[in-house]
């Protein structure tokens, strides 16, 4: 077949390669018309087709006894007992947020909510994982402020609690901020609906907002190309969120599913109607005939625009003709549009009509399954950190331990995120047992329809890109450990994991290496912990003129607790009525190292590499902590994370409003490190616990293989730390004020 040069150029302008265009011509047996080309270009984009990541993702462990839905559905779902399933997924909205931070972040929340209620689950919680450049840049401050406001505006308005998240500030995110949102929902096991269209003759119903020009040339294109100076041209297509429409859509869809009126349901995300319809058809092994003239519009649109519009707050349902009237009635009750826009066929083709005119005719498998997949060509770089923008050192070389601790506590990535989370409604739904800053993970009651099971759900989202940059395999494994540790500290056992892989351009060998190593590391940790990956998302091409972002796998985990009333907290507790002071101990194989640490960043000594560690021992230690929390044997538990042990205990002290006196000698001895590393070194597998002496001594007996070091006692109004010759003696008040103002002092 001879392909015109001009057509190839047109395809390339839409992001396809010449050989992909040829492949499309082959699959169609002719050249695509303009509408077909637009549809192909979006469905074959990185964002929809996972061209560079699909093979790698298939190496993740996805099986588990309790997995009800794994990758491939809108969200993953696991069985939590009592007839309930918990559905969850994390998704990125990075590029849209870099272009318009408020709407980008808001519609990111809207999108992930739809993925969760698409399967019939009621969204009960949102978490968000954010990355920005350092706050000395006006752009980063602006992005932070608007992204947080956007998440707040949307999440608060739809009435879903935003219960957790994380924010890091690093130079490589200056041009490419990351906005990853995770949603957790609940659904009776029998009440889930899938997205596979079926039953030729069934009606395709578009529910929700009217369609406008939103996002045309948007997410799919944006998410597949590097942002550069020409940002401006990509701008006019910003999608606007309407949380009121979403809240009606949630109730409407859940009522439709509850009344068993739907055969299938799917959200409209990237590439709009094109991808939702073809994916539903592909999963069901059927075809669809759509009539774009039936789509309710906000303004006049061309057929191809209707097919690719990314207008928000829309869902696509398959309905038996006999139930159509009932469906329409429910939609009317919720004051949301419902339009029959097509029918299910047995042709395995997606046919697009405009009234009687056939505007496009494409094999469903060509659209969904036959996009060429590419092999990554990883090459390990000589220096893993060479490609990244660096931060100016913020800490003078001769800083003493006390100054160092205060500098770390006030460093925006470590400092209190109260400025952000107080903008989120973390209470709506009356489930929030552990709210932000009270514990390492959010804990929500596992209740349904007013019936409290007494059990709890814990959730956390984590990922430290800087450490992954230092060693992608170990860094990604650490992200899984961190999430698992957060769950253990509240007494929860992991049920499943979702992830978002935020990376640079995978066509570059060193990025391909980061991606490959990170997925392998994550995979190894999931296997070691026995946690299945039930879903996720990939965001590639996060690069700007100053280089790529840090490789940032973000891990979200959901776990269960037998008793929400026994959920752990991270605060030390003062002794009551002159009783004995609580003892403080470090549980786990934690071996502190300054490699990749926050201190290395602040001190300007960051270098590649991270120390290896034994996943099995970490798992053992976390199980011990989990059981101790559940049994009430400890009064607090807090894992060692950014800033090391000194920062961790400072946080316990600040949250508890009570001091502590600790000596790190046993750690220095066991780990064979210098005092500075003992104080500020980082690494997985450490949990600081406090509790009555007797019960901690009991715990130490069980800790044989995994590590237990008594460090000191809780009490007083000062935090006193001794590590060899180094000492720190700060008042709880001073520590708190630095911690509280580290972030809030930098934003307007």
């Amino acid at each position: 077949m001879s392909v015109q040069q001009a057509d190839v150029a047109r395809a390339e302008a839409l992001g396809l390669t010449a050989s992909e265009y040829e492949r499309i011509c082959e699959l169609l047996g002719r050249e695509p018309n303009a509408l077909e080309l637009a549809v192909f270009s979006l469905l074959w984009s990185e964002h929809c087709a996972y061209k560079h990541s699909r093979k790698l993702l298939s190496t993740l462990p996805t099986e588990g006894e309790r997995v009800l839905m794994g990758p491939g559905e809108n969200a993953g779902a696991v069985d939590v007992g009592d007839g309930l399933a918990v559905a969850f997924k994390v998704e990125s909205h990075n590029h849209p947020s870099a272009v318009e931070p408020f709407q980008g972040a808001a519609t990111g929340v809207g999108g992930i909510l739809r993925d969760v209620f698409a399967l019939g689950a009621r969204p009960i919680a949102v978490l968000d994982s954010l990355r920005f450049g350092n706050l000395d840049s006006a752009r980063s401050r602006y992005l932070l402020e608007r992204v947080v406001a956007g998440i707040a505006s949307y999440g608060n308005s739809v009435g879903v609690a935003t219960v957790g998240g994380e924010i890091y500030f690093e130079a490589p995110y200056e041009q490419n901020c990351l906005v990853n949102a995770m949603c957790v929902g609940l659904v009776p096991v029998g009440g889930m609906v899938r997205s596979a269209a079926s039953g030729p003759g069934n009606v395709v119903v578009l529910i929700g907002a009217r369609t406008g020009r939103d996002g045309i040339g948007g997410a799919s294109v944006l998410a597949s190309a590097e942002l550069d100076e020409s940002d401006e041209d990509k701008r006019p297509s910003v999608q606007i969120g309407d949380p009121l429409e979403e809240s009606k859509l949630i109730e409407c869809c859940l009522e439709l599913i509850g009344a068993d009126l739907l055969v299938a349901l799917q959200d409209l995300g990237a590439a709009g109607l094109s991808s939702s319809s073809s994916e539903m058809a592909s999963k069901g092994g059927v075809g669809l005939d759509l009539d774009v003239s039936k789509v309710p519009l906000r303004e006049r649109l061309e057929p191809f625009e209707i097919m690719i519009s990314e207008s928000q707050e829309r869902m696509l349902a398959v309905v038996e003709p006999a139930r159509l009237d009932e469906v329409v009635a429910v939609c009317r009750k919720w004051e949301t549009n419902a339009a029959s826009i097509g029918t299910v066929t047995d042709t395995m083709r997606l046919r697009v009509f405009n009234g009687d005119t056939l505007e496009g005719d494409m094999p469903v498998t060509a659209l969904v399954d036959e996009c060429p997949l590419y092999d990554l060509e990883p090459v390990e770089p000589a220096d893993p950190l060479a490609a990244f923008a660096t931060s100016r050192p913020a800490l003078p070389a001769g800083a003493d331990p006390e100054q160092t601790l205060l500098a770390l506590l006030g460093s925006p990535s470590i400092a209190s995120k109260r400025w952000a989370f107080e903008q989120y409604d973390f209470l709506v739904g009356s489930r929030t047992v552990r709210r932000p800053e009270h514990a390492d993970a959010a804990v929500l009651k596992l209740a349904w329809d007013g019936n409290d099971t007494g059990r709890g759900l814990a959730m956390s989202i984590d990922g430290n890109g800087r450490r992954v940059a230092c060693d992608p395999y170990i860094g990604a494994a650490e992200a899984v450990c961190e999430c698992a540790a957060n769950l253990a500290c509240v007494g929860a056992e992991p049920l499943g994991l979702t992830n978002c892989l935020n990376f640079g351009n995978p066509e570059k060998p060193h990025i391909a290496w980061q991606l490959t190593r990170a997925v392998h590391g994550m995979s190894a940790a999931c296997r070691a912990f026995g946690v299945p990956v039930v879903g996720g998302n990939v965001s590639l091409y996060n690069e700007g003129p100053e280089g790529p972002i840090y490789p940032t796998p973000v891990v979200g985990m959901v776990g269960e607790l037998p008793e929400s009333a026994a959920a752990g907290s991270s605060a030390f507790q003062a002794s009551v009525d002159g009783g004995d002071a609580d003892m403080v101990a470090l549980v786990g194989p934690f071996a502190p190292s300054l490699m990749g640490s926050e201190l290395a960043k602040l001190g300007g000594t960051l270098a590649g590499g991270l120390p290896p560690f034994d996943l099995a021992v970490v798992r053992q230690a976390l199980e011990l902590v989990r059981e101790a929390v559940r049994a009430g044997a400890v009064r607090s538990a807090h894992d060692v994370s950014d800033g090391g042990l000194a920062v961790t205990v400072a946080e316990c002290v600040i949250q508890g409003g009570v001091g502590a006196t600790l000596d790190l000698e046993p750690l220095i001895h066991r780990a064979e490190v210098d005092p500075r590393a003992a104080l500020f070194g980082e690494g997985p597998g450490g949990v600081v616990v406090s509790g009555p002496r007797e019960s901690l001594m009991e715990l130490s007996k069980k800790a044989a293989g995994s590590g237990f070091l008594a460090l000191g006692t809780v009490g007083g109004e000062r935090l006193r730390l001794t590590a060899g010759a180094a000492t720190i003696d700060v008042s709880v008040q001073d520590a708190r004020s630095v911690f509280s103002s580290g972030l809030s002092g930098l934003v307007p």
């Binding site: 707040a152 009435g159 949380p243 409604d425």
Partner: protein
């Protein structure tokens, strides 16, 4: 209607649901926890189906578009609520419900954008200024309650003369304790009642303070006040 010797009069409380309401289920649960019966009242309904009291819950009715509470107050159910309130029926507006009641003219004053211009979600303390209202009867005078706020538009405002009248008539029933005013409200006002003291609005969320596991149980008192008050509701 009689209260009987010391026995609690159980009332049926309607919880109004607008498009965009968020805390209706929380309010429903809180009412039940206070030992009362709860029932949802859909925004399109034109009567209160015999409810003895009404709660307008928090959220973002009609997206808070235009002005918080401005669109909701024109929904059919609000006509019934107005009539009920004017006859002396107990009506509680929480957060967005407070905004709706102000917009509807059932409560004095208005709620403006927080001074910080931001949404604020925070546990804080309010002091009970008066116990002689439909929803504070179960509290002690001067009692301090731990309750959360969560809103963007909670800065209570009334023009000077009105404000003085409110103070003079003791219509300010809840105040943020000194130093904890989260939004710039005049006189630290957190909650007010109408002249008849049967309609109350407050920015804090008592329905989110009815369970020790999720923060506090102090909010229960506002709902259980209804049980005490039930006896005096006009038939």
């Amino acid at each position: 209607m009689s209260a009987g010797g010391g026995s609690i009069f159980v009332v049926r409380v309607g919880v109004v649901v607008f498009p965009g309401s968020c805390d209706e289920a929380d309010a429903y649960q809180a009412i039940e926890r206070a030992g009362l019966e709860a029932e949802y009242l859909w925004h399109g309904e034109r009567n209160l189906r015999g409810c003895d009291a009404v709660v307008i819950p928090g959220g973002f009715s009609y997206g808070d578009y235009l002005r918080a509470g401005a669109l909701a107050r024109f929904s059919p159910v609000m006509e019934a609520v107005s009539g009920f309130a004017l006859e002396g029926g107990p009506v509680l507006g929480i957060c967005n419900g407070f905004q709706v009641l102000c917009e509807a003219g059932l409560l004095p004053g208005a709620l403006l954008l927080n001074e910080s211009l931001r949404f604020v979600c925070r546990q804080l303390h309010v002091q009970v200024e008066r116990t002689d209202s439909a929803f504070t009867g179960a509290c002690e005078q001067g009692e301090v309650l731990s309750v959360p706020v969560k809103h963007t538009t909670g800065r209570y405002f009334a023009p000077d003369d009105l404000l003085q009248r409110l103070e003079h008539e003791a219509q300010v029933v809840l105040r943020y304790v000194p130093g904890e005013n989260p939004n710039g409200s005049l006189h630290d006002i957190a909650g007010v009642v109408n002249e008849q003291r049967n309609v109350m609005g407050l920015m804090p969320h008592p329905e989110h303070a009815t369970d020790p596991l999720t923060g506090s149980t102090d909010g229960l008192k506002l709902f259980s006040s209804l049980a005490v008050r039930g006896a005096t509701v006009p038939a």
